[in-house]
């Protein structure tokens, strides 16, 4: 009996447990059931070989589930010398929500019930930025409305993330390039992180997410847009499957007014450094010391 047939994330903790697993697996013929679960380890703790095997298995399961042979699952790692950051020009944003839906499609978010990683807040010009007076359900004939401006919010990829601190099982962490990710295979669904996040960036799968097979984005990352199961938390990952391969996030590409900027903070000549030198940027809720990598500015 090979390790592979035993479990996709198995590590032999002790001879005793492995014997039990063997007996259980032998008895059932295929899977080792609960013993298999107790021997499971977090994806990030596994060897490269094991990770490859698991990715292949996830890919297989996913292809079967949606009947799509083009689905690929990667675990592309953070690149050296890269720290991602985001810039958003509030004077340009017109509140069209194209970013919201581009994100839904790019990142395989549930269509029913709807999950939106980006939420656009309508603010009143005579109030300024005031969450208490904001509205995310604005629905006029045409945007922008003359009395309003718009403030899109998604995960702020904090340097000091409150969500990571509170997770009781180490299912969420900050990667070397600054992206805060969630392991959907380890998340307990306790929602401590949702209580802790000051930006409402984390979303819970209250039931099985539904996405039509033809609408699946087949290019997936294991901590990013791989379709999630029910009962776990998900969030924006700066399009980890694209940006780690040198592409822009989907929301940056779709924005019709060029309000969205993205780049490597460590690149002195890069877009983000230029932006921060030439414009005056601010972050949301700076008093909470979350130190976001998501900068807002008014270019004009």
């Amino acid at each position: 009996m090979s390790e592979r047939t035993l479990d996709r994330r198995t590590l032999m903790i002790s001879a005793g447990l492995s014997t039990m697993a063997g007996i259980s697996a032998a008895a059932s013929g295929k899977s080792a059931g609960w013993v298999e679960r107790l021997l499971k380890r977090r994806f990030v703790e596994l060897s490269d070989e094991r990770r490859e095997e698991i990715l292949a298995e996830i890919e297989e399961t996913c292809r079967k589930k949606y009947g799509r042979d083009d689905i690929t699952v990667s675990d592309t790692r953070a690149l050296d010398g890269v720290e991602f950051a985001y810039g958003l020009d509030l004077s340009r944003c017109v509140g069209c929500r194209r970013c919201v839906y581009a994100c839904v499609h790019e990142n395989n978010q549930s269509r029913d019930p709807q999950i939106h990683w980006i939420r656009v807040l309508e603010m009143k010009k005579d109030h300024g930025i005031d969450f208490a007076e904001s509205d995310i359900y604005y629905d006029p004939e045409e945007v922008p409305e003359p009395e309003s401006f718009y403030l899109p919010v998604a995960c702020q990829q904090c340097r000091n993330p409150a969500c990571v601190k509170v997770c009781p099982v180490k299912a969420t962490w900050q990667e070397a390039d600054g992206i805060v990710v969630i392991d959907p295979d380890w998340c307990l669904g306790c929602r401590c992180c949702m209580s802790a996040c000051p930006y409402g960036a984390r979303h819970f799968n209250w039931t099985d997410p539904t996405i039509a097979a033809e609408e699946i984005n087949p290019d997936t990352h294991v901590f990013g847009n791989l379709p999630r199961p029910k009962g776990v938390v998900e969030k924006c990952t700066f399009c980890i499957h694209r940006t780690r391969k040198g592409r822009y996030p989907a929301c940056v590409e779709i924005c019709p007014v060029g309000a969205r900027k993205f780049g490597n903070l460590l690149d002195e000549d890069g877009e983000m450094r230029y932006l921060m030198r030439e414009k005056r940027v601010f972050v949301l809720k700076e008093e909470l010391n979350t130190k976001p990598r998501f900068y807002y500015f008014f270019a004009t």
Partner: protein, 404 residues
């Protein structure tokens, strides 16, 4: 030894399940409520937490509120252990075991409420050291799981030792039990503090992010658990030959009055800070007590809770009403209701309403949530009833032994 253990198990099972018609009717009732809740939970397990009215805006609600309340009930034991063992006050010493029994039942219930709240109950083992990946020391929920399990084990040890020695008519081992009882005092303070810190450590939720949250938890907890015990003691006075002195009941009621005073004082301090400084953060308190923009689902409950607590405080403070059975029991019910609303609904929900981006989502529990909750309470009362049944004959024997 093994024979002794076997006879203890079979013997106490016989005692626990033998009773009159009222007893069987009570057990049958609890059993039915358990099944009613279990069916709702099974449906929730199949479809996900969408069967609740929790959503991303209010992502913790009824379940976590009940969890918080029940951690408080588990402190009941301390209110008996302190006068009994620190001040060596005999009338309470004889009945302190019922506090431990309640603590065991309440901790089991509180853990069940966490279990039904998580999205992936199949992964709770990940919270355990060695086999799982507890995120210690940084996660407060991680710590909470540790201390609650520890408190359960501690109380189980005490209870099982007392029942076991009592069953075999041997004196209990003081050198084993008394240190554990004394340790249960800081442990009870510990479970409350850690549970309060789960909320108080959340800077994103100003309604919870308060330094006096842990003291408030302790103060209200010292009222809610003993309220159940006072009613139980009166039932025992009438239906068994256990001698429970009226002074014991009055003394506990008096201690509850002091705890309630502290609770109300801390509440007042919080209210002053919120309304006088009148910052953006006031909106959560306003939502609770007066409603905002027509969102006022919690307002009647909030005021009911406050009125219950104040009236109960007065009833327990004045010796005449404390010693009158009618007003005493009324006070118990009012305290229980007042603290249940305060910790159950009025702490968790306004903390998340409006949400961090200012959205109002008005939460009220679904029938499914209420059913699951009722089921868990039935499990707890079932455990408590059976444990009490086991303890009663032991105490009765002790009482009749003294009188002859």
């Amino acid at each position: 030894m093994i024979k002794d253990i076997a006879s203890f198990i079979t013997g106490s099972a016989r005692i626990a399940f033998k009773g009159n018609t009222t007893f069987y009717a009570w057990i049958a009732f609890l059993g039915l409520v358990c099944l009613w809740g279990l069916a709702a939970w099974w449906n929730q397990f199949q479809h996900g937490l969408i069967t609740t009215n929790m959503r991303d805006q209010v992502s913790w609600a009824f379940y976590i509120g009940n969890f918080t309340f029940l951690v408080g009930v588990a402190a009941a034991a301390v209110m008996l252990v302190i006068p009994a063992y620190i001040y060596d006050w005999k009338p309470i010493k004889e009945i302190a075991i019922f506090g431990e029994l309640l603590a065991v039942s309440a901790i089991v219930m509180s853990m069940l409420f966490v279990f039904v709240d998580v999205g992936r109950p199949d992964r709770v083992w990940q919270l355990m050291p060695i086999i799982g990946t507890p995120n210690l020391p940084s996660s407060l929920l991680g710590w909470d799981v540790m201390v609650l399990n520890g408190y359960l084990v501690l109380n189980l040890l005490i209870v099982l030792h007392l029942l076991y020695t009592g069953f075999h008519r041997r004196p209990y081992n003081r050198r084993f039990v008394v240190p554990l009882l004394l340790f249960s005092i800081p442990a009870a303070v510990g479970i409350h503090t850690v549970t309060a810190f789960v909320y108080a450590g959340t800077a994103a939720r100003p309604f919870w992010n308060s330094a006096i949250l842990a003291p408030r938890f302790l103060a209200s907890a010292f009222c809610s658990g003993p309220a159940i015990l006072l009613i139980l003691f009166q039932i025992l006075q009438r239906t068994t030959s256990i001698k429970i002195k009226d002074e014991a009941i009055w003394k506990i009621a008096e201690l509850m009055a002091y705890a309630m005073f502290l609770n109300l004082f801390l509440f007042g301090a919080e209210i002053f800070r919120e309304y006088y400084s009148n910052t953006h953060h006031l909106i959560h308190t306003q939502y609770l007590y007066s409603g905002v923009h027509g969102h006022d689902a919690l307002v009647p409950y909030a005021w009911a809770s406050l009125i219950c607590s104040v009236v109960a405080f007065l009833l327990f403070l004045i010796p005449a009403t404390r010693k009158n059975l009618v007003t005493l029991n009324l006070g118990c019910v009012l305290i229980f209701a007042g603290v249940y609303i305060e910790k159950g609904m009025a702490l968790v929900i306004p903390g998340m309403t409006p949400d961090t981006l200012g959205e109002f989502y008005e939460y009220v529990p679904t029938l499914s949530e209420v059913r699951v909750g009722a089921g868990i309470f039935a499990v707890g009362f079932l455990i408590f009833t059976l444990l009490c049944k086991m303890a009663i004959p032991i105490l009765q024997d002790a009482a009749s032994g003294e009188s002859t």
